[in-house]
Symmetry: C2
Subunit: 367 residues, 2 copies
């Protein structure tokens, strides 16, 4: 019996830790990501460098908004290194992944490298979907050519991040670099803005438009909660930005839009005077819906939006409305589940709306 107990004790003592399956490679030294430049916050944070903003001061009734505030959605770490490899060790608060996105998007990392003057995809940080495993170590890239390289590491979109360390060659140097972006656009919205269903954290609409235009589109998307609730206005009012982009007609009902949009716009115009506020119509067409009840609801909602926006534009010259229908092509393939976009859908959205957004921003000197 004693021997059995001893055996069990030894088993427990030497049981593989969460790290065991993905051991850190040898001859690598780690630095805390906090010693590098973490960008993309909605507001500066005190509770954690991996929060978008500290939710407490706002007392959100909707607890999902507070939860999503604590996700590192849209955050990215900027650094330069002469290492031959980039390793990452990170730990998230464990959660089971949702079904309409990859686990990489929800829990993983996404490394971009500066290549011939552009930020291009280098490699994603893949993850186990085992909910028991929340500590992860991955060699993101190795055998790099000699010399300094600049990196941008996107953080997970749909989990709370407890820690992140970057590993490099023992004899290499790593240092923070500045964000590549001068201007900031607050990108407020729904799950579409949050990132559903991009295949990697760097494939969100915000992240892609940022790289394309060289302007920081700050991800302030709240899945299912981009409803222009009055309680969100104090947050949006506080954000230092040069323009606002609002994709917030998908989540609320026609009635909620009718009730909320005037106050929402009036307040934002007050707190962000002279800045362009660009609204985008819901990314659904009548033809999306073979469900006739949903189709009718959408037609009604679009008529409410059109009427309200026409009224608002009369009193606010800096409010814009992009009402081009979502570009389905003739194949309707841009969605994963009718509500959320896949990478093809996001690509079509970008092709349609980005030039129009850029044109408005240029009028305000944002370029």
């Amino acid at each position: 019996m004693k021997k059995l107990l001893l055996f069990i004790l030894l088993l427990v003592a030497f049981a593989p830790s969460n790290y065991a399956a993905e051991k850190a490679p040898k001859n690598v030294k780690f630095v805390d990501a906090q010693s590098l430049n973490i960008c993309g916050h909605t507001l500066p944070t005190e509770k954690s460098p991996f929060y978008r903003f500290d939710p407490e001061p706002y007392g959100f009734k909707e607890k999902n908004i507070s939860r999503y505030a604590c996700y590192p959605t849209g955050l990215y770490v900027m650094f330069r290194t002469n290492s031959s490899q980039v390793v990452a060790t990170w730990e998230n608060v464990p959660r089971r992944v949702g079904d309409n996105m990859t686990a990489i998007t929800q829990l993983g990392l996404d490394l971009y490298i500066k290549h011939e003057g552009r930020w291009v995809f280098c490699q994603s940080g893949r993850v186990s979907t085992d909910t028991e495993k929340s500590k992860r170590t991955k060699t993101l890239v190795k055998n790099l050519a000699e010399g300094d390289k600049e990196f941008m590491l996107y953080l997970p979109l749909w989990c709370e991040l407890k820690s992140l360390e970057i590993g490099i060659d023992e004899n290499a140097v790593i240092e923070p670099i500045a964000s590549p972006y001068k201007y900031k656009v607050l990108n407020y919205g729904t799950s579409i803005t949050h990132g559903a269903s991009a295949s990697r954290p760097g494939m969100t609409w915000s992240a892609r438009m940022s790289r394309n235009l060289g302007i920081d589109f700050i991800n302030v998307g709240f899945s299912g909660q981009g409803k222009m609730q009055p309680e969100i206005i104090p947050l949006l009012s506080k954000v230092e930005c040069d323009a606002l982009l609002c994709y917030c007609f998908g989540n609320p009902s026609a009635k909620e839009i009718e009730e909320r949009v005037d106050y929402f716009v009036d307040e934002l115009v007050k707190t962000h005077p002279g800045k362009p506020i660009i609204f985008i119509r819901p990314l659904h067409n009548e033809l999306d819906y073979f469900d006739m009840v949903q189709r009718e609801k959408l037609v009604h909602k679009l008529s409410v939006i059109n009427r309200k926006i026409a009224e608002i534009k009369k009193r606010h010259k800096d409010v814009y409305y992009l009402d081009e229908p979502f570009p389905h092509g003739d194949d309707f393939e841009g969605s994963v589940d009718k509500s959320h976009l896949n990478d093809l859908g996001f690509d079509r959205v970008i092709k349609t709306y980005q030039p129009k957004i850029a044109k408005i921003l240029r009028k305000y000197g944002i370029k």
Copy 2:
């Protein structure tokens, strides 16, 4: 103590079944999918209508090939109904989902509807990623307009399917309809062909090209195993098809390609005389790789492929090689993890290669 035991017993007795979370709606009658038209098989099956083919006769050394044979990858169910709704109840062999694809792609369903002469996306069958839950019921679409409608339901790409029933209004009629495709192209290959990382089962390269061209591209992709192993040849030789498309230079090493490709092609030409056999180069470019070792390996592999294909084309007039580099655009965004394509990557592949594939097929009267 007795009371506690009784309490636990009652708890267990009335514990919710797997179905509890997703109850079938009322006033719905179900029919077995086997009474409809299940299409897309590599070969007719005896063991299960949801296998691509029965693996036993081939005695594959690589057990993953046998495992993947039993997945309903690329299978689709054809039916017509006048129901106002389409419900699905399905059960898969439980498994934890992989990280670089959605659970919908791996375990879910994907419903297409015939709309103005085209097959267009109607709705996906979303799933729980809880490995305890493998029985699923989903209302895919409801409130349909009156009248007969034709549907195509794609089955999951990465799990074994135990059962599938389609639910319709109690007073409605459902009946099998023929496959919309006349010609068949055997699409042999790797995980890219298998479907990694399309966002839904209907978004694979095979499924999209089938709908686009009206030709059935049969999904014979084996993740990680599209290596032209000699043991796969008896299977490919038996398939009744009008042409062969082979994306099989990604998985094997340069050495394996050197050793295997002659025998692979010679045998297929023997068993499929006069049919076009179209090879596609690996969907990676030198520039993909910031890992210099990988880059060098790819350059070497491409030179081996070019040499071997040039030799083969001299002796086989019906062998084609599409060597256009993978169309990265200037943003490199088409991949989820450098190995697998996202929907944007597949879209670019289709834009580049589909016209060339269609042109070759037309020469053989396949259109």
